[in-house]
Amino acid sequence: MNNAMGFWHILFGRLTWESLPFVKAWLDPTVSEIIAAGAGGIVVLGAIATFGLITLFGKWRYIWTEWMTSLDHKKIGIMYMILAVIMLSRALIEAVLMRVQQAVAINNPGLLSPDHFGQLFTTHGTIMIFFVGMPLLTGLINFAMPLQIGARDVAFPYMNSISLWMTVGGGILLMASLVFGEFSTGGWSGYPPYTELAFNGGVGPDYWIWAVTLSSLGAMMTGINFAVTVYKLRSPGMRWMRLPLFTWTAFCTAILMIFAVPPLTIATLLLAADRYLGMHFFTNALGGNMMNFVNLFWLFGHPEVYILILPAFGIFSEVVSTFSAKVLYGYTSLVIATMAIALLSFTVWLHHFFTMGQSAPVNAVFGIATMAIGIPTGVKIYNWIWTMFRGEVRFTTPMLFSLAFMVTFVIGGMSGIILATPPVDFMVHNTLFLVAHFHNMLIPGMLYGMIAGYYYWFPKAFGFRLSETWGRIAFVCWVVGFYLAFTPLYVLGLAGAPRRTQEFFDPSFRPWLIIALLGALLIAAGLAALFIQLWVSIKQRDTTRVPVGDPWDARGLEWSIPAPPPDYNFAVLPQVGRRDAFYWRKQNNGAYKPADHYRDIEVPKNSMCGVLVGLAAAACFFGLVWHIWWLAFCGSALTIGTIITRSFMRDVVRTIPAAEVEALDRRWLETAAAALPVPRQLELTPENEGLARCQPK
């Protein structure tokens, strides 16, 4: 008997039957456990259904060769987006569950046990930041930035694939936690000593540590990749001050990733050292100091906020300028503001813990630094307003999201300044006011931007437009839903309602919590509307094709190529003479012209190494979570082995002959010549084939 147990332990580590939520629900059939089992069931069934469908349709080869092993930055970008959408769906359902719990649980325990509730807010936060926010922006940058600077790919395509699959691996760990064991209850920030062994001996915090570590490694490599791409791979004549604003923000975000992500990696790994090796970095006893963790975490955490928001600012700049049919107002100002925000973001981390007992001057200095960030941010908002001034504004879906963002974001800015004032922060820190504030920054700031970018670049990626009707329905749901969901939280926070609480004791909170629940449901409807939009758009794609590639009469280089773009992006690397290069080419009749002569183009060959590295690393970390040491060993050996093997491969590029490039380009030019130029008024009609009518001026 003992022997069998020992064998089991070697094979499966800490994993037992009771780790499965289904068994737990069977043994203890409470609502909370049944919900957990249901979630686990959805993951298992979802995985089986996906695998089954792919097998049924015989698509494995297609998915493997065209997508998973692809090193093409555009496909990697799209895969990031798919990951983000899957994770977003889960985290949003969790948000609705939490809202239901809080609306119900007033002087009664409600549906969810405190432990389950703790897991929900932890996974919700962890997923939304690391597996929704980061993949969304990484995906959009991956797709659009190389096109905007006239590059054929990012600087390190193979490393790009590793980053993607490591992030996917982290996502798999988070999904696995629904089926095997449980997740941390320590919140997305995972403060020790609560997450130390003494207080949480289970697998929860370990899942958190390794999922976040994987994502942070991926983010660090992504940062290096993007920074070098912008620095070195700009096409001839694309000087710094000619870069589109989105590229500027991508560059700043990349720099922030390079410098801000290491503190997170250090924080999680030192916590792992405490938990696995019995060290004393953040423990209560033997000289541990939990304040080190808090400092490390926010040394990452604050720049992270700007990692998330800057690309969205870039998207708003592109969208507002395009749909106002006008140059961006105050380009230089915007660039300076972006750089200022990136720099200042490193100087404010302490405002996340004004309440930790520093001296008043220290708090005041960090409070003032925080307010200083408000200046460049405010400047940006006004820049967008003045971009619309004397323009011709079209209220398309991305523009609507941008407008809603401008108005809603400043409310978040106001609550931000309130929180930056230490004496007020003492009152509203750790309350729902804080929750409302950062959702107010991240939903209108980041998510609206990402949705706008998704709508804006979708025709470029797939060759057809998204449904405008469903876009508008989604818009209404997202905006009304946001206000309903978070205005009540501001009120409750001012009343001292703490965050992360599974139960309330004041009946007067109930109406607010019910309104917030309605808001959350509406936001969920907004996400559903986006899914329907995608479905409807695919159905009617024959009426919305834009093969010529410029459906919005836009300005950057990415619109000067076919939609979808060829593997090598540009048949000939474009020569850039000024800002908004493509716009000027259109104005001067320089667009849609064949090149003088075409050359062979080298693109990276597909490689399965990225997939292997990412999934093997995830397997290794899964082994570490459950103390399945053989799995951890094999996973890490496979990871390192793959990287080494790849370094011995010399045949890694594929050459596309000049003749093929020329044939493809000429065929596209013929399409462009045959297409009917559409004026801006008709851009949402089937007439729009992606060729904009030039407006003389």
């Binding site: 990749n225 791979l233 290491p262 503190p263 990696t265 250090i266 019995g278 004393h280 100091n289």
Partner: protein
């Protein structure tokens, strides 16, 4: 062999790509730049480990204290070994630049490996003595931070050694082709970086303890 170095050559010192087409040159440059950027984020990691070590200076929790535990002699010899290995790697780079034959870089790479391995063996021996004396990472926050800081550097050296071996094999297999050269340049950056980190460790950790 000319002693004069032109400007573009200086930019890609050691790469010997000045004569190559523009794309190749640019590619090489961005590869090296990428590695510099990686080293910057690695430097951030060490900076943070140093600052944590700094805050943990007094967190010995009634256990062993560094000034009694450290073996300063062996730390000195470790420093000497690592600094010499940096010199020998410099010879790798020089032979890469100025000779066509693969034997010279390979030879100096071997010397670097021996010196690095010597450093690592001495360090591991030091660690074992510390363990024997009860100065383990579980004993106190101070020793946790010490072992993680110095150990992280040690791990870097270890991976550097593996990299040296791999480069040796690649030189044997592929000769000094473009990618091997690039990797040797990057390995060089890595190796010198580790040397710099060690100098800081020696000054902050060992000399710091000696001052106490």
């Amino acid at each position: 062999m000319s002693a004069e170095i032109t400007d573009p050559e200086l930019l890609q010192a050691g790469l010997n790509v000045a004569a190559e087409p523009r794309e190749v040159r640019e590619h090489a440059e961005s590869d090296v730049l990428g590695f510099w950027v990686f080293l910057m984020s690695d430097a951030v990691i060490f900076a943070l480990l140093f600052s944590i070590y700094g805050t943990m200076g007094n967190a010995t929790a009634g256990g062993p204290v560094p000034q009694h535990e450290f073996k300063f002699h062996s730390a000195f010899w470790e420093t000497a070994l690592l600094l010499t290995s940096s010199f020998s790697y410099g010879m790798v780079s020089l032979s890469l630049k100025h000779t066509r034959h693969r034997i010279w870089p390979a030879l100096w790479l071997g010397v670097t490996f021996c010196l690095g391995a010597g450093f690592l063996i001495m360090e591991v021996r030091d660690f074992l003595t510390l363990f024997h004396d009860g100065a383990t990472p579980e004993r106190s926050g101070y020793f946790s931070s010490f072992f993680v800081l110095v150990g992280t550097h040690g791990c870097h050296v270890f991976s550097g050694l593996i990299w040296i071996v791999l480069m040796g094999i690649q030189i044997a297999m592929f000769g000094l082709d473009q990618r091997t050269r690039l990797n040797l340049i990057r390995l060089g950056l890595f190796w010198h970086f580790l040397d710099i980190i060690w100098v800081v460790i020696f000054s902050v950790v060992y000399l710091g303890a000696l001052i106490k």
